[in-house]
Every structure is written in C-alpha cells, then in structure tokens.
C-alpha cells in the first residue's frame, strides 16, 4: 500500500481538488489501543522515537511516571498515568497512550493555512509534511485532542504519522509491533472494531459494565481508537475529551475567513513574492501568535 500523491484525499489550504480516483478498497486502517491491557511500559514511546530517529530531552522527575512530561517534536506519543479510586475504594491505575487520533474529519488539516502541510490519505492516515509547514500553530488550535506540537528549534509542527512509511510498505506501525501485551493492535478499521467488541465483552464479564469503544463521532470517527473500561467517563483517562469537536475557530476560518482570505490573495501575492525572495519566508511573531492563541482558547 504505497502512499504517494494519488493516495492523498485531502490537502490543507488547497483549493484545487485532490485526486479522487484511488480508494481504500481493502479497508481503511486503524490502530486500536486497549487501555485495559496496557501496562504503561512505554515500549511504544521508545519504538516511536527509535523508528522515527527522534530523541527527546533527558528531563527530570516531577513526581509522575509521565516522562517526557508532554508531547513534543521528539515525542509523538507518550503514556499518561492517572490514579483513580473507584466508588468501592479499589485503586485503578489508568494509563492512556496519547498521540494523534488520525480523525476522519481532521481539525488540524482544516485549520492549516499552509498548502500541503497536512494531508489525509485514502487509508485514513493524517500526515504532516513539515517542509510545507509555516509554524503558525493553527493545527494545534484545530486539534480537539491537543496533539500537534511546534518545535522551538525549527518552528514546524510535529505529530504521529501512524508510521506512514511502514504502513506504505504493508507493515504495522512501530508502536503496534513492539507492544508487549498486545494492548495496541492494528488492522482495517472494521477488524479493529470487531476486535474491540470482543474485548468489551470480556471486560463486561469481569464487571466493567461501562466498558466500551472510543471512536468519537464529533470528528467523524478516528483511525486511532481506544477500548476503555469506563467508556462513560473518558475524562478519567488524563482528560480524554468526552465529546471532541473541531474548534469553533476552525469553522470560522473555513466558513468566513477563508473566502475573504482567498479574495485577498491576489492583492497580497505580489507583495508576498517580493517579501519572500527579499527577506525569506514570513514567520509569525511569537508574542503576537501566543496572544492570538490565548484569545482563541478563551473563546472555546
């Protein structure tokens, strides 16, 4: 399943239609993370860094098992640990592998103003092409799961690719392959849903009456899904959103601002060209950008 331009079904900030001829006839792919089987060993974090030739900083201990402390341009996935006491007084250590959910309706892609910086493949993978990224951070705002991270070094956005390079040659993602307990599995989305159904049945037989699948409709479903013991309370798992939706700001950009912007393009293009060849690519001033982001978040 090679992935090249013909497999791209959506492309950020691009008005010309993407090629539509090719489809995922054998099924879209999905990664299923069974939180109830996860032991939080972080092998997935290592496999991710190792395969993608990334190394995060050697940080410090802040009183938590979450290391590194957050996603970054080097950590495209990480485990988030939550200690939860049930009503019966039993302790549960809920450990969720965080990372890109590969939404069917990707807020990051919709929000992205850089042409071709974010693409969606026919098989469901949402991928970033950093060479096109302008570092504006709108993907961060657009993401209902707070996943993309902007590198301080190169001002590019980074996130999990679902190992598009491995999937392209017919392999499973690195995190999936390494997972010691089989908490992460990979296959077609249909197969993953069926696997999840079997797991949920087993969990219900063990007394987890609210066990269920997390495949949120608000983003059109996802290509990374969770099996949860407490599907009725996703927020227990390090604030997994109960009903994720694409930010209102992205709707705004798509609805009103983008046509305005496109109208303005003719006027700015020539100036921009001169700016580009004279000074280099434009970059958003960091303070201005941070202020804008704060205001956006306040409006959510």
């Amino acid at each position: 399943m090679a992935l090249q331009s013909l497999d791209i079904v959506r492309r950020s900030a691009t008005t010309t239609p993407s090629p539509q001829a090719r489809e995922a006839h054998a099924g879209e792919v999905a990664k299923l993370i069974d939180v109830t089987k996860c032991i939080g060993c972080k092998a997935c974090q290592v496999a991710c860094m190792e395969w993608n030739d990334l190394r995060d900083e050697i940080g410090s201990c802040t009183g938590h098992y979450d290391n590194p402390a957050d996603l970054s341009e080097h950590s495209w996935t990480l485990m988030r640990f939550s200690e939860h006491e049930t009503a019966a007084g039993d302790l549960e250590w809920l450990i969720r592998k965080d990372g890109c959910m590969h939404c069917a309706d990707p807020g990051c892609l919709k929000a992205c103003p850089a042409p071709g910086a974010i693409v969606q493949y026919a098989n469901g993978i949402v991928d970033f092409h950093e060479e096109n990224c302008i570092g504006c951070g709108y993907c961060v705002t657009g993401c209902p799961f707070n996943v993309p991270r902007i590198s301080k070094r190169d001002h590019k956005a980074y996130k999990c690719t679902l190992c598009s390079d491995r999937v392209a040659v017919g392999l499973e993602p690195a995190c999936v392959k390494t997972c010691p307990t089989g908490a992460i599995v990979f296959g077609t989305k249909d197969d993953m849903k069926q696997h999840a159904a079997e797991r949920i049945e087993d969990l219900k037989s063990r007394g987890f009456e609210h066990a269920g699948l997390y495949d949120p409709a608000g983003v059109g479903g996802t290509h990374v899904m969770y099996v949860l013991h407490h599907a009725d309370q996703p927020q227990l798992y390090a604030n997994l959103p109960a009903e994720p939706k694409i930010s209102a700001m992205v709707g705004l950009w798509k609805g009103m601002s983008k046509p305005l912007a496109l109208l303005a393009i003719a006027a700015t293009a020539f100036a921009g060209f001169l700016h580009y060849i004279g000074i280099g690519p434009n970059e958003v001033d960091e303070d201005d950008e941070a202020a804008a982001r704060r205001e956006m978040e306040e409006t959510r």
């Binding site: 089987k37 060993c41 972080k42 050697i58 201990c61 009183g63 307990t181 037989s205």
Partner: protein, 809 residues
Amino acid sequence: MTNHWVDIKNADLVLIMGGNAAEAHPCGFKWVTEAKAHNKAKLIVVDPRFTRSASVADVYAPIRPGTDIVFLGGLIAYLLANDKIQREYVVNYTDLSFIVKDAFTFEQGLYSGYNADKRSYDKSSWDYELGDDGYVRTDPTLADPRCVYSLLKQHYARYTPDMVERVCGTPKDKVLHIWELIASTAVPTRAMTIMYALGWTQHSIGSQMIRTGAMVQLLLGNIGIAGGGMNALRGHSNIQGLTDLGLMSNLLPGYMTLPNEAEQDYDKYIAARAQKPLRPNQLSYWQNYGKFFVSFMKAWWGDAATAENHWGYDYLPKLDKPYDMLQTFELMSQGKVNGYICQGFNPLAAAPNKAKMDASLAKLKFLVIMDPLATETSEFWRNAGVHNDVDPAKIQTEVFRLPTTCFAEEDGSLTNSSRWLQWHWKGANPPGEARSDLEIMAGLFTRLRKAYREEGGAFPDPILNLAWKYAHADSPAPEELAREYSGSALKDLADPKDSTKVVRKAGEQLAGFAELRDDGSTSSGCWIFCGAWGPTGNLMARRDSSDPTGIGQTINWAWSWPANRRVLYNRASCDPSGKPFNPERKLVGWNGSAWGGADIPDFKADENPAGGMGPFIMNPEGVARFFARGAMAEGPFPEHYEPFETPLGRNLLNPDQPQAISNPAARVFKDDREAFGKAEQFPHVATTYRLTEHFHYWTKHVRLNAILQPEQFVEIGEALAKEVGVENGGRVKVSSNRGHIVAVAMVTKRIKALTIDGRTVHTVGIPIHWGFTGVAKAGFLANSLTPVVGDGNSQTPEFKSFLVKVEKA
C-alpha cells in the same frame, strides 16, 4: 521455570506474588494477557505496591514486605481444612503419606537440633522413618499422626486468616477472596501458575517463601501440568545458563556440587550424590552422577583425567564453606582478598551496603573489569561528589578496565528462564579495540599457563593439563565451546545391549545425557546441556515455530534442557494409570507401550505406569517433598521469620522465642549485625525494585531509557508524605543505619500504609536504577541503604525488606 513463557497461556488462574512480571518481563507477561483474553483466566497480584502488574489484575491485595510465608501458610491451612486438594495427585505424587521420625519436633519457631551458638541445626531428626526393608514407611490413608500430612496440618494451624491480617496487613476479606479463587484450581481441569522473581528471593527467608508457593501448587495438583508450575521469571538474559553451568562458589556444571574438604575419598563423594531409591522401583536419576561427573572431568582435563587419578579429583578445589558474594566481600573488608575480577558485573551498585563495598574494594591490590560499559565499580575510586564521596589519593588499588563486545557483536547461545538455549548471530564489529570475553579469558589463561610452564609455581597441574584443543588458543570459537559442553564420544561406544554394535563413533557428538558413561569414554562439559549440539548439529539454532497441538510447546524451536523437555515433571500431568488428568491440555500420556505426546516425557520412556514409578525422578523417593528433609537450612517446613530489620521487633507467630524473631539459621557477620537499624530510629519499611523503563544499572547508559525515567525517585504513600511534610515532586532524604540517599518524592495512592498488629506501618518504594555513571541524571546507588544479610540457603541479600527513615530534604 518448571514450565515456560508461552505455556502461561494455558493457565486458568495466574498468581503473581514476589514478582512484577508486567514491569520486569513485559514480553513474557504477554502470555498472561493471552490467558486472560483467550482462556478466561483471572489474574491475582499480591504485592506491597500496586504495580504495573496490579494495574491489569482482576484482584490485587497489598502485603507487608517479607511476610509472604504467612499469607501462603494460611492458604495451606485453608486448603487442608476445606479439603481443597487434588487428592489423587498428592497421595500418589507427594510425600504426604510418609512417616517422619519421632525425634523431629517444632516448638516456638525452632525445629529439633538447633544450636544457637552456631546458628545452625543438627538435621539428623529431619527425616523419614525407614522400614526394615530400607524403604520409607507410609500411611496412604494419611491418618497417622506422624505422617507428613498430619504434621503439615498441625504446622500451619497457627496461620489463621486473622493472623494473616495481623502480620501481613492484608485485609481479611481480600485474603479469603484470593484463597477461594486459588482453591478453585484443586480440580484436575483447572490450572494455576505462580510467577515470582526477586520479590521472593531477596529475603532472609526467600528460599522458604518459594517452597511455600511450591507446596501450594503441589496440594492443588498444579505441578507438571500445562498452565501450571512454579515459574521463576529470573533476571539477566543468561542467569539461567550461568547457574546451569555452575558459575557459583559451590557448584559444578549441571548442578553437580564441588566436594567439601572432608570429602577426600572420591568414591564416597560420588556415592553421597548418587542416592539410592527410598521406595521400590524408583528411578532416582542422580544415581547416574558418576557418569555426569566423569564425562565432565574428561571435558576439562582430557587425557590427564584418568581412572587412576580419579579423573583429576584433586584438581578441583575443596570447600570449607561457601564463598558467595557476601562472604567474599566480608573477607575483602577484612583485607583478606588481594585480587578481584568483575566480568560484566557491577558489584558496587549490585551488592548491599555501598559503604562497605567502597571500603572493601579499596583494600584490593588489583581489580580487573571486563565490561562493555563504564560501570560504577570500575570507577569506585573516583570522587563523584555526594554520589561517591571518596578520595582517590587514598585508594591504592590498581584497576584494569577491559572493553568487551556486546550481544550484537558476538555469536553464541543464551539460556532463558524457560530453559531454552537459543543461538544468536553477530551483526557488527565492536567499537574501538573491544574484545570478546572469550578472547580475554583465553588471553589470561594462555599467559598464566605459559608462566607456569616456564617458571613453575603453586600446584600447576590443573592449569598445565587443562584441555585446550581450540584451533586458536587465544580465541576459542563459540562453536568449539558449544560442542564441548554438549559432549562427544571419546572412543567408539558399543551398544550396552549388543556389544557388537557401535552406537557412536569416536569423535561423534552425543545425542543426550543418556549416552554418558563413567569409564572415561565420553566427554560432556555440562551434562544437562548434552545434546544441545548433537550428531545432527546445533539444535540451539533451530527456528521452527510450529506448534501442531496448539498448546504452545514449539519443541523444534531452539533446544531446551533437559533433553529438549519443555515442561518439567510432566509425568505428573497424568493419573497413576498414565491418562492425562485434563485431556484438553494433554502434555504426555501412556499409550500401552510408551510415553509420548506434545512434550518429551519427563520419565523413563517405556516404563509401565503399573510399576508405580513416581514422576519426580530426581528425588530418591520418586515423589515431591512437602517435608524437605535436610535440604533446607532453617527447617523442613517453611516458617515465618521477620526480616532482620523488622518494624515489629518480634515474630507474632512465635512471640515468646527471641531466637526465632528472624531466620535462626541465616549467616550474619558481626560487623553487618552491628550495622542493622532498629524501628525506633528507622520506622519505615523500605523495599527496592526495578522499573520497566530500566534494566538494573545498565540502561542508565542508554539514552532512550534515560529519557523514559531520567531521574532518581522514591515512592511513598499519601499518609507518609503528609507525616513528613513533603509534596509530590519535592525531595526527600531516605536514611538507613548504613547510609542515605536523596531523591524526588513520588507521592502515590499505589502505596498505602498498612495496619500491622494494630500499628501503622509505612512502606517506602526505592527503584534502583541510578548511579554516578551514564547519561541519566546522576543519583545515589540504592544499595547505600541495604543491609548485608542473605537468605539462609542461597545467600541472596535481603533487599526487599529493611528499615529506613524518610525526611523532607
């Protein structure tokens, strides 16, 4: 392991106690998740901490460190009282019906024969009663008050659920719930596996904890069956292999033992180990000891090992006492050791009481390090600030540091905890001038041999005569050594049944240890590995993963000792007539003329079950022992003794006998005893352990792992944090009577204060992975805190339960 990793998928119930498989052996733990997902198995975790294993358990119960015998002893009492035992199994395959000598007694925590001055027992009363025929007297009805069953019941009657709650701190309802689940496997159709590791071994009563677990498994009929067994997870990649090969003070390869200095007579040495059956028609396989021993001596000393010199018996050093690590460091601290060689071992980090280690190493004249990495031991003389505050100028030890290859840079085999010998292949050259350990050992040996040949010296014979027929004397090839430890015929071997036939030609590799002889015509460096490199080649390199029965045996993958057998004692998976107890999970069975099935039978292949031969063929009884006879230092039945640093100061099971507070038969050196702390000054119970992100003191040199757990921390419960006034992420000083560490405090709900005998006892969790070399943040060696006292039998240090004081730093 009696069983193997994949076999865990056959379990109906998994008990993880004294270990943390999810954390320390994640890829093996996969088979627990498989048993849960596909066999509807339940997982029970009993541990002082709510671990990563506990996070996916069906039932978790806390326990005070070091009190596992109370929990398990109570379970034995519960199984016996409620008749939740697999009767056909225990009556036929264990010693429950055997009569014990009248002189054997147990009172107030002490067995008959105790000598308080020597801290050891005269074990002569710890034995079965023999009849006039020389065989053990038995009572198959189990009614005799002196039979093992009666004594067992009597012994554990004190271990009531209330006592368990009082000593262990485990809530009684949890205890009873777990016992009930475990009791459900007493039927032949249900199997439980027990998985344990250092959480049981690293106690002054560690070996007895393991025995108690094994006794539970025997009562339930869970030994020898698919999905059952006593499964030691084990540590390093070849810790099994090095133990199998006898690299311990008192061992020879294949669990043969070095002679004691009193054993001056070769024939008596052999006879003491080649025990005659204690019941009629038992195999008592150690009767072949002489064949194993002679073949071993031929492998090492070749033509110089002759019948006349008792195969070179004098070449072997004779013991006056065991020289385990703790004993050796004690001698070193007294200045009685001059030279020390550490091959891939970092004792400054790994041994108890770092201060003693530092002082001891400084008394050496020379220290040789062979390692791929820059260990703390190699730099014990370097001042690393608070983490190693020494003065190099005052340390006169010469240190040699020799760089070695790592796994990726060499060929060879490793033996895993399933007893599989697996061959691996080199992928690249080592960095710089690093050399393999084989080259280094050979380089040292050939130099020593040359010097002894040319200059003479103390008893040069075993050095000069050591068989060294390697193509390159300075660099023996792994293949040559594998062929040597597996074994070959030295002469044409005649068929014992027909002397005109030759079964093996001289020089041919042997197929297995059944071909070994005691007349010097065979050679095998390690009898239990015999056949690993057989007449058809290197079986350790086999890669056929097919599993025709679906039971997970893969018997054509690599090679397993003994005899490629995957589940030990598998004869016991069948009833006395040879039919599998559980036909759904058949390992072996009797077909009327032979034994066979999915595994290599652990039995005489053509032995008709009607003859009554027992399945525990290494024991002269032919059955498994509840009553250990003289095999254990502290008694035939496991008894609870407190850790040497006890938060209680007394043993609630034997409150009136001060000699029985802690293990009465454990060896304690004077200086180490003086370094013990008391609960008044050090009120908190500490336990050290490993995290899944790291491997011992090794992966702090590995950047990816340093990223995952960069900095030293200790785990404390919320109540203790409040008491000492520290917030999560703050820093604490943890002190014992031997030293201190300072680390980040991780305040967690996963460690709870326990109520022990009406008092609150806090547990402090101390992960061990940091030190003063590597890429992770520098930290204190956790063994700055730990006491020097070992298990009474194995001398494994008591790292799992000792006393500290936690303060805000």
